[in-house]
Structure formats: C-alpha cells, structure tokens
C-alpha cells in the first residue's frame, strides 16, 4: 500500500517526470515556451498595444428575459473620451446584428428585440481608455419590459412556457432538437427481458451534470485592426481555432478571406472557452471599421463567467439492465440538454449532442440506446466548452455513476463489477453498440494497475474499520463527532474507468460548419539543418512548441532545440481546425509526423546522390541515412540539408530543398482510456469533503514528452475535483446568475487538491502514425465520477444512493439527511 503521510506530501514511489537533458526525440525536456513565460515575457492579447488603439466595453443586460423598448446612447456619446457607441440598431444597418453559431443557429451580436439571458450584450462603447469606456456604459439608458424567464430546463417544453426565440419565424416552443443513438428496439427488448426475469433487474437513476464554466485565468478578448487603406483586417484574439475563425469571419462579415489575418498569441488557458466567436469580438471588428483605428476589447471576469460558453447542463436519466450476478446487459439513457438562449455549442455538424453516443463506456453490452432533447432557456449559450471531448464528460459521468449505482443495488464491490464487464483486449478493434470503433486498449490491465497502485484491498479494510468505529460512535450516542472528541470521519473510495474518443476527425463524417476536420502541417529544413514547423493547432498551455518539435526531432534525428514551431497566425500556418477535443496530437501531431517523413524520404534521395549509391541501398538508422551494412557510409540530416540546397545533381524529377507540406485526415478517432481511484474523508457533521488521495492510471498510447503528459493529467484531475465538489453556474428562478464571479464560482486551490499519484499503461493507437492518442482532456473527463463515487461511498452509513454535483458541504450534509439538493437552481 502506498503511504501518504502529511497531506500534500508526495510519496517518493509516485511516478513523476521532470525535465532532463534535451533528448533527440521523445522524452521529458524543458518546454521551449517556458523561457519567456518565467520571465514575464509571454505575449497575451491584452499585452498587445497598437498605435492609436482605442478600448471597447460591452453593456450587458441585467435581466434574463425582457423586451427592449428603447436605448438612449446620447449621454454616452457626449462623454469627452468616447469615440463611438454601437447598438443592435447600428449592427442591423450592417447586417451584423445576428451571427451564425457553430451549431447552425443564430445568436444576437447586440440585442435588438429582446434580451434572452442575464449578461447578454446590448451595446458597445469605444473610448480612449478602458476606464473611460466603462464610465460611459453607465451613461447608456436602456428601457426594458421584463418578460417571464425560462430557467428550469425541465419546464422549457411545458405548455404555456414563454417562447424565448421569438426571432425565429414560426417558433412556438423552446425545443431545439431530438437526437438518438443506438438501437432502440433491441435495447427495449433487453430491458423487457430484464424486467421480467427473476435473476435480472433494471436499475434507474436520475442525475444532473450541472452547468459549469471553464474559467481560464485569461478572459476572452480581441484587438481588431482594420487597415482602411489595404482593407486587411488583423485580429489579435483569444482563439483556440484561428483558421476556423478566419473562415467564419469571412462568412459572417462578408470580408474576403485573404484580407483577414487572425493572430492568436499566447493564450492564458482555453479549455474550450476560446473555441467560439463571441459578440465582443465582432463588436471590436465593427468598431475598428467605424473608427478607422485599432480597437481592443477584453472582458472582465464576470462577463467571462456570465456570457461566454458554459459547459454541461445535462439532465440525465440512466437505466441499466443487469443480471443479479453482475453482468451488465444494456444501457438506456434519456437526456434533457439545456443549451441556453442560443444553440451555440461547438461540435461536429452531425453530432448535436457531441460524442455523447460514447455513453456505453468501457463495457461489453448487448444493446444500448440514448435519446437527447435540446432546449432553449434564458441562460448564456454554449454547451461544449470545458475539456469535455465533445460531451464525453457527460457520457462517462453517466455510465460510471450508473455502474456504481448498480454495484450499490447489487451489494457488489464496484471494482469487481467493473472488472467483470470491461471490454477484453482481444475484442479490439471493438465496434460499440452505438457505432464507435474503439481502436485499442487493455482495460482489465489498466484497472488492475490502478487497483494495485492504490492498494485497493487495504483501503477497503481501512474503510471497514472506519465504518465500525463510526457505527460504534453512533450507537454510543456520541453522534457523528465520535467519542473522546475524536471525530470519526467517513471514508469513501470511488472508481471510474473511462474511454475517450478524441482526435476529431475523419473528414467523411466530421466537420464544423462544413469545414472538414483535417489538419495541415508544413516543414522546412534550412540548409544548415535547422527546421521550422508550421501547424494550425493553437496551444493554450499544452506545450506544442516543445512536443511538436520533439515529433519532428524523432523523425529526422535532429535536436528539438533546432526546430521552431510556428502557430497561432493564419498568415503563417497551413489550414486546420484548431485545438480542442484533445485533437492536437491525434490530428496535427500526426500531420507533423507525416510531413517529417516526407522530408525524410526526400532526404534519402539526396543522401543517395551524395554518396553515389542507389536510394534502395539506404536504411534509416539512428537519425542518419546509411548504406545498408556499412555504418561508415552515412549522412546526417544536417549534411543532407546543405546538399539539398546546393548544386548537387539530383535524379530526374527530384526537386531540391527539404521542404514539404501535408494534410492529415484521421482514419478514425483515437481512444485513450484510464482507471481512476479517489479516496475521500467526509466529515459527517459538516459535510465537508477532503480528497485524501487520487490515483490516476492513464493509457494515452505513445507519450512524446512524459512530463507534459503528466502535467495535462494533473490539471484535469484538479478540474474533476472542482466540478465534483465546488464549481457550479447556478441560477435563481428570476434568471440571476449565481456564479458570476470567483467569489461565487469556486475553483479548486492547492488546498483542495491532493498530491496526485499517476501511473500509466501504454497501448499505442494502431492507426496513428506515432501511436499517440491525445491526453489533454482525459482527466477532466474521467475524474468527476471517481470523486462523486467516493463521496457517495463514504455516505453508505446513511444509505445515500446518489447526490448531484457539486458536492459542497451543504449538498453532502443534505444528502446524508435524505434531502438532496438540486444544484442547478438556487433553491433547496
């Protein structure tokens, strides 16, 4: 058993990688980008100052649902430092009052008819400085006629509920879409059998994955610089998808695409928050066109939390058909999806519920079916925006919570139940009952590694002892505080096993607004053997400048220090869809390996010419092209690069130089997996939860830079603790956002997070050029159910079967008293 002493003190046996000497390829090395970050020389959007730049600020609605009867901007316009005030009416004249969303809906840029959520954009002020711009907001007089807000998603479709999207012709309700996946009749048949058979049962549980917000530390913003002479728009902006944004601005604003340059400099965290196009960006562009000078807009924290893309808000009913000896036969799910006032979720076109279809999880089922209904409410729009791998967070939470509910009802150990139902290694590639082809994995092995690492049996023994002491204390009348002043805390052990599906995606089936999800890469090797790689994906802290250089280094036998990675500027990089859904390494990383291999093949021809041998006689060995069987006859990439640029005679039809481009179209998604075990102590008197340990064994295939991979997992685990215990964007029934600042929207600090204990198994993706699977979101996806399962497990003496996130002290205490809270609404 691994021993952890003082909280936060790491056991030395715990795996962790720190930077070593720079390897010639894969391995833990210092990140190239850190040299500027530790010196405070990163360049985030708000650090950029352009000559003559003005500042914008957005006036927002205080009401969730109201008709706008008038807007008087005259006092603001009279402010001596104000240059322009833009309203919905201004934009209407330009045809820009509404913009398309990433889900084929429309969204108001500045409200014209109604406001539809608290914090919605109503007007935009342009002034000399940021203080003056905000002063002027107070001078705008907006008259509202309040309307009844629709806050409870469960009421959105009821008769008589006000219609939110009156702007849509003929719209008479708040319904957005119905979507289903799997075989309904086969699933119903399995459930009918299970209900009828004495040796089987159907387990049902309702659960909410509440609305959360990714809250990157840097908020969203932009600087629009429309050159009135050349007609070229340069937009410095917080975007995870610069190329997609360029195309969208071209489509939205009618600007010629070659006259748009998107620069996404250093990004202070994204997590999905910076995928969409927000009204503030569009306003900054319009303001620059109107004023003829650059205009900067940076939102404040409340604007970020209240108006930009939220995540989750899934109201789910899970049903499992299972034999009494623990064989899971089928899963059936109904989801009510709250999409807010505009359907602006970011996901591939054919997937309105994202990849929720992966809800069958890691288990071998006979049948599965889900039905998802999307509805409008008077809340901010968004939906897929928080390291969720297109809603696999919701899917994994559903199935992993359900498995624990099944274990509870069967009186079976949740580890044993999982082990009995996990897919077996020989079943891969596995065709899931909802149409996904899982590429590879050895799930029982991964789970066993985690169980061993955690010391699972010893933990259960400790828990049994703790429960005996708790029961004794209860019997003796000492209550939860225990006897002799020694409180007996309840101990909980929670598991989750997740399968992710990342790296969107194959062009034939995945696109965003018609843009296929393939990524380009371009590689130039200079005459002296130094190289520049250009990629379309956009780091928000993932370390692409290092990892992608390492991929090239591994393929070409160069040092990563000799390779620069250019990204975040559409004028300098090839087209691609950007960084979200853990797709960078699976897609752009694959493009990088493939373009390097193209260069390597060209180098082979050049090396053959240099040594006057046939290229067929050469073999690639330790970073050099070598005559087979003759180690003395070889050429390094640097030698070859110089020769490729020289007057060396090359075979007919072979061009000189060592430059190449490629586009990578993934043949399938990649399927990382992992087994997580969380240990909590719960104070039954206060409901406070202390995460004592967290063991995470991830299988993300090939690890390019183990140190960076572990960092990605750490961050996701903190997210999971946050979502399970603290984070929630709730609303009161008037539509007031109750999570509009960091005072109310609680994010985990160093004190809520334990010292993470990581492990790994490695099952390379069989179809990815380097066997990598992506890891950015694995821990965010996989960890919330482990934490929740642990807390519910701790509450076993109170016979709690389920309670919804976030499991705040109040929520835990109420659940223990038999009165679970509804977290999404500010009522109890």
């Amino acid at each position: 058993m691994t021993a952890i002493g003082e909280k936060g003190v790491q056991d030395p046996s715990v795996q962790i990688h720190a930077a070593e000497e720079t390897p010639r390829g894969y391995g833990s090395m210092k990140r190239k980008e850190d040299a500027r970050f530790v010196r405070g020389r990163g360049q985030y959007v708000d650090d950029v100052v352009l000559p003559g730049m003005l500042h914008g600020a957005v006036l927002r609605s205080p009401l969730a649902h109201a008709r706008i009867t008038s807007i008087d901007t005259s006092a603001a316009e009279a402010h001596p430092k104000v240059h322009a005030v833009i309203t919905g009416a201004t934009l209407e004249g330009l045809g820009l009052a509404w913009m398309p969303t990433l889900s084929q809906d429309t969204q108001a840029v500045l409200a014209t008819d109604k406001v539809r959520f608290q914090g919605q954009e109503v007007a935009f002020v342009v002034a000399d400085d940021r203080y003056a711009a905000r002063d002027a907001l107070a001078l705008i007089d907006v008259e509202y006629e309040p309307l009844e807000p629709v806050i409870d998603a469960k009421r959105a479709l009821e008769a008589g509920t006000p219609v939110i999207r009156t702007d849509k012709e003929g719209k008479t309700d708040n319904h957005i879409f119905d979507w289903e996946s799997g075989d309904r009749s086969a699933t119903d048949a399995v459930f009918a059998e299970a209900e009828a058979a004495e040796d089987q049962l159907v387990v049902v549980q309702d659960m909410i994955y509440p609305r959360v917000h990714p809250a990157p530390l840097e908020t969203c913003g932009a600087i629009a610089d429309m050159d009135p002479v050349t007609g070229k728009l340069t937009l410095w902006t917080t975007t995870q998808a610069p190329h997609a944004h360029r195309t969208l601005y071209a489509l939205v604003a009618g600007l010629p695409e070659h006259k748009i340059r998107i620069i996404s400099p250093d990004i202070g965290g994204g997590f999905g928050n910076k995928v969409g196009i927000y009204p503030g960006y569009v306003c900054a562009v319009v303001a620059s066109i109107v004023t003829g000078v650059p205009v900067k807009w940076m939102e404040d924290r409340s604007e970020n939390l209240m108006s930009t893309s939220f995540a989750r808000d899934y109201h789910m009913r899970g049903e499992v058909a299972v034999t009494r000896d623990g064989r899971i036969r089928g899963v059936r799910v109904h989801v009510l999806a709250d999409h807010g006032a505009f359907n602006a979720t970011a996901q591939p076109t054919a997937f309105p519920a994202g990849f929720f279809g992966v809800f069958t999880g890691s288990y071998d089922l006979e049948a599965a079916h889900c039905a998802v209904t999307g509805v409008y409410t008077n809340k901010a729009s968004g939906g897929v925006a928080y390291a969720c791998s297109f809603r696999i967070t919701e899917a994994v939470y559903l199935i992993e919570r359900m498995v624990d509910v099944v274990a509870h009802d069967l009186g079976m150990d949740p580890a044993e139940l999982r082990m009995r139902n996990l897919l077996r290694p020989e079943q891969f590639p596995y065709q899931s009952k909802t149409g996904w082809e899982y590429d590879s994995g050895d799930y029982p092995h991964t789970l066993q590694v985690a169980l061993d690492k955690a010391g699972y049996q010893e933990l259960r023994a400790e828990q049994a002892d703790r429960r005996r002491r708790f029961a004794d204390a209860q019997r003796s009348g000492a209550g939860p505080a225990g006897t002799a002043g020694e409180p007996v805390k309840l101990m909980g052990i929670g598991l989750s096993f997740f399968t992710e599906a990342v790296g969107a995606g194959p062009r034939r089936s995945m696109d965003i607004l018609g843009l296929g999800m393939a990524d380009g890469a371009e590689l130039r090797v200079h005459p002296t053997g130094k190289a520049v790689l250009r990629v379309s994906c956009q780091s928000q802290g993932q370390g692409h400048e290092t990892t992608f250089a390492q991929i090239v280094a591994q393929e070409l036998g160069l040092s990563p220090d000799d390779i620069d990675v250019v990204h975040g500027d559409t004028d300098q990089t090839p087209f691609g869809l950007g960084t979200y859904g853990s797709r960078s390494t699976p897609v752009s990383g694959a493009a990088t390996a493939m373009v390097a291999r193209k260069v390597r093949e060209r180098a082979k021809i050049v090396a053959a010419a240099m040594m006057e041998v046939s290229a067929d006689d050469l073999e690639w060995d330790d970073g050099r092209w070598q005559v087979a069987g003759d180690p003395d006859a070889s050429r390094s990439m640097a030698d070859i690069a110089m020769a490729a640029h020289s007057n060396l005679e090359l075979p007919e039809g072979v061009e000189g130089h060592l430059d190449a481009t490629c586009v990578y179209n993934p043949p399938n998604l990649t399927y990382p997996c992992g087994a997580y075990i969380c240990v909590v102590d719960v104070d039954p008197g206060t409901g406070a939860v202390d995460v004592r340990r967290f063991v995470a064994v991830d299988d993300c295939g090939m690890r390019i830079n183990p140190m960076i991979v572990e960092g990605q997992v750490h961050g996701g685990l903190a997210d999971g603790v946050g979502m399970a215990l603290m984070q929630c964007i709730a609303f009161d029934l008037d539509g007031n956002c109750l999570g509009g600042s960091m005072m109310d929207y609680l994010l985990p600090t160093s004190l809520e997070c334990p010292s993470w204990e990581l492990g790994e198994t490695v099952t390379p993706s069989p179809h990815h050029p380097i066997g990598a699977k992506g890891v950015g979101e694995s821990a965010t996806v996989g960890s919330p159910p482990a934490v929740v399962n642990a807390v519910i497990d701790a509450l076993a003496p109170y016979d709690v079967r389920h309670a919804d996130m976030p499991l705040t002290p109040a929520a835990v205490w109420c659940a223990a008293q038999g009165h679970p809270l509804r977290p999404d609404l500010g009522i109890t």
């Binding site: 530790v38 010196r39 985030y44 940021r130 928000q540 160093s750 004190l751």
Partner: protein, 173 residues
C-alpha cells in the same frame, strides 16, 4: 495625483488618476505586462507583485497606495538575461513543469520567492498554504509545489557550498 514608485529598482514618476489600479499602472503605464489580471475580486492572484517585499494582489491595490514604495514584479526576478541569471524559483518552475499556459506563473513565482525568503525549507503543506490564495487552472498545483521544493533544494545546496568555502578558507587562515 503624482506618485513616485520604484519598480524593480527603477524609479518612476507618474501623474495618475486616484482610482487607477496598481495592476493597470504596471501594465498600461509602465508596459510591464508580466503582471497579469484575472478576476477583479482578489481570488485568482494572477496580479500578485511584491509591495515592499510583501506579496499583494495588485488588482486590489491602488497605484497611489504604492507611492514611495518598492514594487517587485516578475520582470525583476531574474538578475540578467541569461539562463544563469534566473532566480532558482524560475528555474524550478521550468525543470518541474510548474507552468502550462503561464498566466498564473508570475504571481505564483513571486509568492514562492517571498515564501522562500522567510522560510528557506518549507514543507509541501507550507507551500500549498502559501499559494492557496492563488488559482492555477492548468497544473493541478502538484508541479508548482515541486518547483518550489526544487528551488529550495538548489538554494540550500548553494548555501552549503558557500559555507564549505567559508569553512575551508577559515581553516586555511
């Protein structure tokens, strides 16, 4: 109001609005953009600088309150431009992967530097306590703790080496 503020050892005289926040003074007036802004409510600590040695959240300090004070920002941590000039805390963050997006990093490093100045060998729990008023959305904190421990170990080794030098020169004398 006219104020005189020494920032990283350099004196600056400016006429500022009384309401100007210290973070905006540093960022907009002095163009020292290593100090970030993240929340408005003193929760995140992306704006932490040292005011007369004490870590403060510069989003809730007025620039006029820094009149006559010495401010240290991330730009003042290193002694020069080369890697050898980096503060051990900066080195530790690089070696132990204590940062990802880099946005919280300046504040985290300044708090860590202040901690090591008063407690050269802090326990992991002490480090967690010291940075608990700041938020990192990327690292899950573990590697920040390790980074600070790395810096503490390096400084201890440097001190030991200096002591050994002193001992040997005393022995020679």
């Amino acid at each position: 109001m006219q104020i005189t503020v020494s920032v990283n050892g350099e004196s600056h005289v400016r006429d500022v609005e009384p309401r100007l926040l210290l973070t905006h003074f540093l960022r907009d007036e002095l163009r020292l953009t290593g100090t970030h802004w993240g929340c408005d409510t003193s929760n995140c600590g992306a704006c932490v600088v040292r005011l007369d040695g004490v870590p403060v959240k510069s989003c809730t300090v007025l620039a006029v309150m820094a009149d006559g004070a010495e401010v240290t920002t991330v730009e003042g941590l290193a002694h020069g431009r080369t890697d050898a000039d980096l503060d051990p805390v900066q080195e530790g963050f690089m070696v132990c992967h204590g940062l990802q997006c880099g946005f919280c990093t300046p504040g985290m490093m300044l708090t860590s530097r202040a901690l090591l100045d008063r407690d050269p060998a802090p326990s992991a729990a002490t480090i967690r306590e010291a940075i608990s008023g700041q938020i990192c959305r990327c690292t899950g904190y573990e590697n920040i703790v390790r980074s600070v421990q790395w810096a503490a170990a390096k400084e201890a080794a440097t001190r030991d080496a200096a002591d050994a030098d002193t001992d040997s020169s005393e022995a020679l004398a």
